[in-house]
Amino acid sequence: MIAIVDYGVGNLFSLISSFKKIGADIIVTADAEVIKSSDRIILPGVGAFEDAAKKLRESGLDKVIIDEAVKGKKLMGICLGMQMLFEKSYEYGCHKGLGLLKGSIVPMQDSIPANLKIPHIGWNALHFTRESYLFKYIKNNDCVYFVHSFYADECSDSVIATAEYGKQLTAAVQKGNIMGCQFHPEKSGEVGLNILRAFCEME
């Protein structure tokens, strides 16, 4: 069973629908015991980092997720949920993340050419930089759907795919059982569903 952590950040409709579509056994939950008894965890999130980090901390679920991940349970963060896996974010100040992956979240502004629009919105190609089971059913250069203004930097030990937008932006990360997508697999058509499928099947 996959626990989708519901900590009041963003709309989970599409994510839930896409897991149902691929026939995954999911439960949407904010209950620590349910998360502990699950065999995989999805950490979603849309919105501002500070607000999301605060909500996760206040719910006490931050510690539960860290404990489970350290024990080896498969954990995937999506969009802001991926960003939360890192040590810190410089989105409007400096805020602490879960610290499960090395690196920090930084603004695109000033690090990509000024003529490029921010947020980075739309379909962009994935460039694999490492092998990952997550890519089992997809190909290098397949397109996925992005919506973000901040990205993970100084994370060379976990990056598995990038997307070119003025520079190579971190698109997906994995370090053992801990992984994440900056893009939205639940909005990326068949390619996205195939990434979720691989996550569900990963041994």
Binding site: S14, P119, E164
Partner: protein, 252 residues
């Protein structure tokens, strides 16, 4: 790099797609769910659902259908039509829409853009503008293009962006329905003035019009159309191949 987007628009009235279609293999050509799946399978990058229903019952039907589409189709969905309040945003976002397009509602109350952008993020708010040339200037029209508001279009668009609109749809009334190509002059002007994605609408009659659009205005993000797709005059898989062979980056 970000790919250029091709977006079919479906007009929905009382739960059915209004404009007729004639695709092989579709058992029900006016079913929004069947058409949405067809376009998604064809490689449409996004879908726009425009609700032209006026009644409360029709609106309920629309949200039921949207929920079904969003449970089956996993590409970005934009909803427009009858969006006048933040509650309207809430209603369609809960059913699985990703973006909400405002037009007359924002003309009546420009702060709707700011409130919605604050609550749901800029990326969620699409400002759709119907524009027509009047006495040598570009004017904003309301109520489905029937009413001249007297507002100058470029200023209105800039105001909308400053209030938090994350994307702009430009529908040129002058080129709409004529099928002689997109309104390059107007679209170029808008692209030079704003730094958010701009979607071109109105005037597509064939594949060459899309090629011209993306070649002449490298900053344009997407081409939106309804009847050329619905009537099969332009087939999306072929269009995308053609765009690619013309050096335009698309998702295949």
């Amino acid at each position: 790099m970000i790919t250029k987007r091709i977006i079919p628009c479906l007009d929905i009235k009382n739960g059915r797609v209004v404009k007729g279609t004639n695709f092989k293999g579709l058992s029900d050509v006016s079913s929004p769910i069947e058409l949405a799946r067809f376009y998604s399978d064809c490689g449409a990058d996004e879908l726009v659902f425009y609700d032209i229903t006026a009644s409360y019952e029709g609106r309920q039907l629309f949200t039921d259908i949207l929920t079904k589409v969003a449970s089956e189709i996993f590409i970005p969905l934009t909803v427009g039509g009858g969006i006048n309040t933040v509650d309207d945003f809430d209603r369609v976002l809960k059913c699985g829409a990703d973006k909400v397009s405002v037009n007359s509602g924002a003309i009546k109350n420009p702060l709707l853009i700011r409130e919605a952008a604050h609550k749901y993020g800029d990326q969620c708010v699409v400002l759709s503008v119907d524009i027509k040339r009047v006495n040598g200037e570009f004017r904003v029209f309301a109520k489905g293009g029937r009413e001249d508001t007297g507002i100058e279009a470029i200023n209105w668009i800039k105001q909308g962006v400053s209030y938090g609109a994350g994307e702009i749809v430009i529908n040129s009334i002058d080129t709409d329905g004529v099928k002689q190509g997109f309104d390059i002059e107007l679209l170029r002007l808008v692209c030079n003035e704003v730094n958010v994605p701009v979607i071109a609408s109105g005037g597509a009659g064939n594949m060459q019009h899309f090629i011209d659009l993306f070649k002449e205005i490298p900053d344009i993000d997407a081409g939106l159309a309804a009847s050329v797709f619905h009537f099969g005059e332009v087939a999306i898989p072929k269009l995308k191949k053609e765009l690619k062979s013309n050096g335009i980056i698309v998702r295949l």
